[in-house]
């Protein structure tokens, strides 16, 4: 079931076209990656979904219902963390959450606040003022306010910004847990591609406000040729052999680099073995990152 549908969404700021005719859809249960370099229009798009920025044109549907400029009701089913988790820094985490709980008219407020604080492991620091929190703690608190009202969809804009590698791994683990255990659909934007590759099942790649690709992460990875590094007992002869088989091959000091689709790797390996080469290593070089750079370059 489509939870969110975006059709021909555009946003211009005077002469600058931040988002151009963007269309995509998010299925219930997805962890939907929103990929693009800085300035690609990711935040603008997510803000339009949340009603923070008004679209110049296009439509957004949530659970099949069109979101009009003054629609607000749908927001009770969406939680979000856009860019930085900006709380009232002179208030404690608990008091900040209490404000959001009141705004969302959450029943059993106290119980729910404690539940989500435990979920992100901030229950022991709940009465500390937010200004004393580390970046990682603020990000986790940001997630807490997003899931507090048990939304169907959470939108996380660069949730790992400013976190160290361990913090990023913890954040990924938290997002996966939220998605699985609470059955919440997630849209996550990032320019850290490994983040998307590791957790998203579907993704969109945008650049300069336009959609470049949309689909399953695996599909995107398999869609085009990638570089394969192969180490054999005689790399120079292996290159000549593969060129005679119409492969595009580069000779590197310790290996050969071959352009090949992912599905063609077994056949390539088999050809080399049958031709008498000893294959020591076959390594896929293309990650989503390489694909992304290739697309957005």
């Amino acid at each position: 079931m489509k939870l969110l549908e975006v059709e021909n969404l555009s946003k211009s700021f005077k002469d600058f076209h931040a988002v151009k005719n963007l269309s995509f859809s998010v299925e219930q249960g997805d962890i939907y990656g929103f990929l693009g370099p800085n300035g690609a229009g990711k935040s603008t798009t997510l803000r339009m979904i949340l009603g923070l920025i008004y679209p110049t044109s296009g439509t957004i549907r949530f659970k099949g219902e069109e979101i009009k400029p003054n629609s607000r009701k749908y927001l009770s089913s969406i939680g979000a963390l856009i860019e930085r988790p900006d709380f009232h820094t002179t208030l404690s985490a608990y008091n900040n959450l209490n404000i959001f709980a009141q705004l969302s008219k959450i029943p059993n407020r106290e119980e729910r606040i404690q539940e989500v604080l435990r979920e992100v492991k901030l229950d022991d620091r709940q009465h500390t003022k937010v200004k004393a929190y580390s970046q990682g703690m603020k990000q986790r608190l940001g997630i807490t306010q997003a899931i507090l009202h048990k939304p169907d969809l959470i939108i996380l804009d660069e949730p790992s910004n400013g976190l160290d590698p361990q913090g990023q791994a913890d954040m990924r683990e938290l997002i996966l847990r939220i998605s699985r255990e609470m059955n919440i659909t997630v849209i996550i934007s990032s320019h850290i591609l490994s983040e998307i590759e590791l957790i998203a099942n579907r993704t969109i790649i945008i650049s300069k406000g336009e959609k470049l690709r949309e689909g399953g992460v695996q599909e995107l990875m398999e869609a085009e040729q990638m570089n394969i590094e192969i180490k054999t007992n005689d790399n120079e002869k292996a290159r000549s052999f593969l060129e005679s088989q119409n492969y595009s091959v580069e000779l590197k000091p310790k290996h050969i680099r071959v352009r090949c689709e992912e599905s063609g790797i077994p056949e390539l390996n088999s050809k080399l073995v049958q031709a008498g080469f000893l294959v020591f290593e076959v390594k896929q070089l293309r990650t989503l990152e390489e694909y992304f750079i290739h697309l957005t370059a």
């Binding site: 700021f13 803000r47 949340l50 009603g51 923070l52 920025i53 008004y54 003054n70 607000r72 009701k73 749908y74 927001l75 009770s76 969406i78 939680g79 979000a80 856009i82 860019e83 930085r84 900006d86 709380f87 009232h88 820094t89 002179t90 208030l91 008091n95 404000i99 959001f100 009141q102 705004l103 969302s104 008219k105 306010q145």
Partner: protein, 278 residues
């Protein structure tokens, strides 16, 4: 709306700058009343120097009523500045620190959010003026006691102590209305900017410029004076005339209410249309 208002008031109460206004008023009142307590006769002597040949004054001149009347003058510039510190920051401050984004992601219309912020700002404004009145009155009562009120404005007016209560209620009411105009102006400016300082400086600049125009207006500006709100900020003084000009008071009320409506409408429309980019 009630939830939003409750939360806005809670946020105001939790901010340290909220108490700067109350602290400053307390200091102003303490400074003035203790100055009069210590050397009031000398201070008042200068005023009466020229009048002593015409009038013979008996009894107390410096009373709690006199001090409260004197302190009402801080409504012209000092209290507006203190009001701006909180109301000017009410939208732009949250916009600057990003918490406005979190608020607008909740299922409340922007109109409701703006009106909750405006109402909270107005409640703060009323609290500040009432605090000024109470502190002036109570400290004045403790230091100087009750007595007749002598006012020097377009002549000398002497009011019986029993005749001043309603005049003070009227004057403070008028003062509250004038301060509501200031609050509405700074909240409106606050809706246009994304930093805390802009609306505060902007409102103070508008007040200073308009006060100068209202005070030293050239003949060419005279026709527009009745329509400038700062002209009416001193209209609380009209309650201390022997014969009250109710027409002028009525005009002042209408002009200021119109300003409140216009400033609030502009701020509201802008807030509703604004893209939240911070």
């Amino acid at each position: 709306m009630r939830t939003l208002l409750k939360i806005e008031l809670y946020k105001i109460l939790k901010r340290p700058r909220t108490y700067i206004g109350f602290g400053a008023i307390l200091l102003i009142v303490l400074a003035l009343e203790f100055a009069f307590f210590a050397e009031g006769e000398t201070l008042i002597g200068f005023v009466f120097q020229n009048l002593s040949s015409v009038f013979r004054l008996e009894g107390k001149i410096i009373t709690m009523n006199f001090l409260t009347y004197m302190l009402l003058n801080v409504l012209i510039l000092h209290v507006p500045i203190l009001i701006c510190l909180v109301t000017g920051d009410i939208i732009s401050g949250e916009s600057a620190n990003g918490s406005l984004r979190l608020l607008l992601q909740r299922p409340y219309s922007r109109a409701k959010i703006y009106m909750a912020k405006w109402t909270a700002g107005v409640i703060y404004t009323i609290a500040l003026v009432v605090f000024l009145g109470l502190v002036s009155y109570l400290l004045g009562a403790a230091l100087f006691g009750d007595g007749d009120l002598i006012v020097f404005r377009r002549g000398v007016h002497v009011f019986d102590a029993a005749d001043v209560q309603w005049r003070f209620i009227g004057a403070f009411g008028m003062g509250i209305l004038s301060m509501m105009v200031i609050a509405s102006l700074s909240i409106m400016i606050s809706s246009f900017t994304n930093n805390s300082i802009g609306p505060i400086v902007g409102t103070i600049a508008v007040l200073i410029v308009l006060n100068i125009i209202s005070t030293v207006a050239a003949n060419v500006l005279q026709p527009i004076l009745p329509y400038i709100f700062t002209t009416h900020v001193i209209k609380w003084q009209y309650f201390f005339d022997t014969t009250i000009d109710w027409g002028a008071i009525q005009t002042a009320i209408v002009v200021q209410v119109v300003y409140i409506i216009v400033f609030t409408a502009i701020g509201l429309i802008n807030f509703k249309r604004k893209d939240i980019l911070t």
